[in-house]
């Protein structure tokens, strides 16, 4: 992917992709803002979720549960189940970036699917860890800014936007994650881990609450890495 070793062009390419991701998720931010106020949350409460919770799946789960008439406990549980995976991402981003002081708090808050995947996707590039760090911060900040502006716009102008899926954005997000994962799955072992994680997640979908299939995929990856480590000793 990276034929040029010119660091400026690499950074520029990462920044372009980060902004593209920000604009893509913003369309869902509009929907989220609209759903929030339509459900009966105040503008402030809706915005608070995008600022503090800042993990899209959990935000939709919380508000969606309220919209469906669910209570506080089930709404908080649904949101939290979808948020647990950020813990695993955070451990990984911590070991990659080793931030200290206040940067630790910012890095934690910006740890989401998109920023983690961008960091992962650029670790194998010409810039290695430096490129991965830049990709993390650029994507995290881009998504945070676009997501929050979009939430506000959606919350103020409820019926303004149609369904993002009309524009194929649901497929775009999946394809984006595949593109970011692509450079990481070159060895047979990584391909096997990726396929096993996907297979276990798919098999689990009908039987467990949303959020858990992704955790099971992480469990499979952990198991694979552990078995490999033991086998190599």
């Amino acid at each position: 992917m990276s034929k040029s070793s010119n660091p400026l062009s690499t950074k520029r390419r990462i920044l372009r992709d980060a902004i593209g991701i920000g604009i893509g998720v913003a369309t869902y931010g509009l929907s989220f803002g609209a759903l929030g106020t339509a459900t009966g949350l105040s503008l402030f409460e809706t915005q608070l979720l995008s600022l503090i919770m800042f993990t899209g799946g959990s935000q939709f789960a919380l508000v969606g549960t309220f919209a469906a008439g669910g209570g506080a406990i089930s709404a908080i549980s649904a949101a939290s189940l979808l948020g647990v995976r950020n813990l695993a991402y955070a451990v990984r981003n911590n070991s990659l970036m080793k931030p200290t002081g206040i940067r630790r708090i910012f890095a934690a808050q910006l740890t989401i699917d998109e920023s983690t995947a961008m960091a992962l996707g650029h670790e194998q590039g010409a810039d290695g860890v430096a490129g991965a760090k830049y990709a993390f911060w650029a994507t995290g900040i881009s998504v945070f800014v676009f997501w929050n502006i979009a939430t506000l716009l959606g919350a103020v102008a409820v019926q303004m936007v149609g369904d993002p899926n009309t524009y194929g954005l649901d497929a775009a997000i999946g394809a984006g994650f595949i593109a970011l994962l692509w450079p990481q799955i070159k060895t047979k072992f990584a391909i096997l881990t990726s396929l096993a994680g996907a297979a276990v997640a798919i098999a689990a979908i009908p039987f467990v609450q949303p959020g858990i299939p992704i955790l099971l995929a992480g469990f499979v990856a952990t198991l694979f890495a552990w078995i490999k480590a033991v086998a190599n000793d």
Binding site: I52, F66, G174, I214, L215
Partner: protein, 105 residues
């Protein structure tokens, strides 16, 4: 302030607690040999699971719809070494055009 205020605050703090917990894992543990082998593979497995769920799940049902066509188109673009933005646009376009023409939902 509505009836949703406290659930919003509590759920937001739980979400942040998960994130910060990962950044408070001591360096010594992160540098442990077994951990160093597991940590890089963890997001590979989880993002693979996330992709599978995003492409096939509607709540707790498995649904083959326009997303699958877009993903296949995106993978073809990747095989031809298309850059990130192109992969994403190809996937969105195939899914959106097929939906507009009624080939899939």
């Amino acid at each position: 302030m509505t009836e949703f205020f406290w659930p919003v605050v509590i759920a937001s703090l739980i979400a942040f607690a998960f994130k910060i917990a990962g950044f408070l894992v001591p360096r010594a543990i992160l540098e442990h040999d077994l951990f160093k082998k597991i940590i890089p593979l963890l997001p590979v497995g989880m993002l693979s699971g996330l992709i599978a769920v995003q492409v096939l799940a509607v709540k707790q049902a498995i649904v083959f719809d326009g997303r699958v066509a877009g993903i296949v188109a995106g993978i073809v673009a990747l095989i031809f070494r298309a850059p990130f933005i192109v992969v994403v646009i190809v996937a969105a376009a195939v899914t959106a055009i097929g939906r507009a023409k009624g080939y899939w939902i």
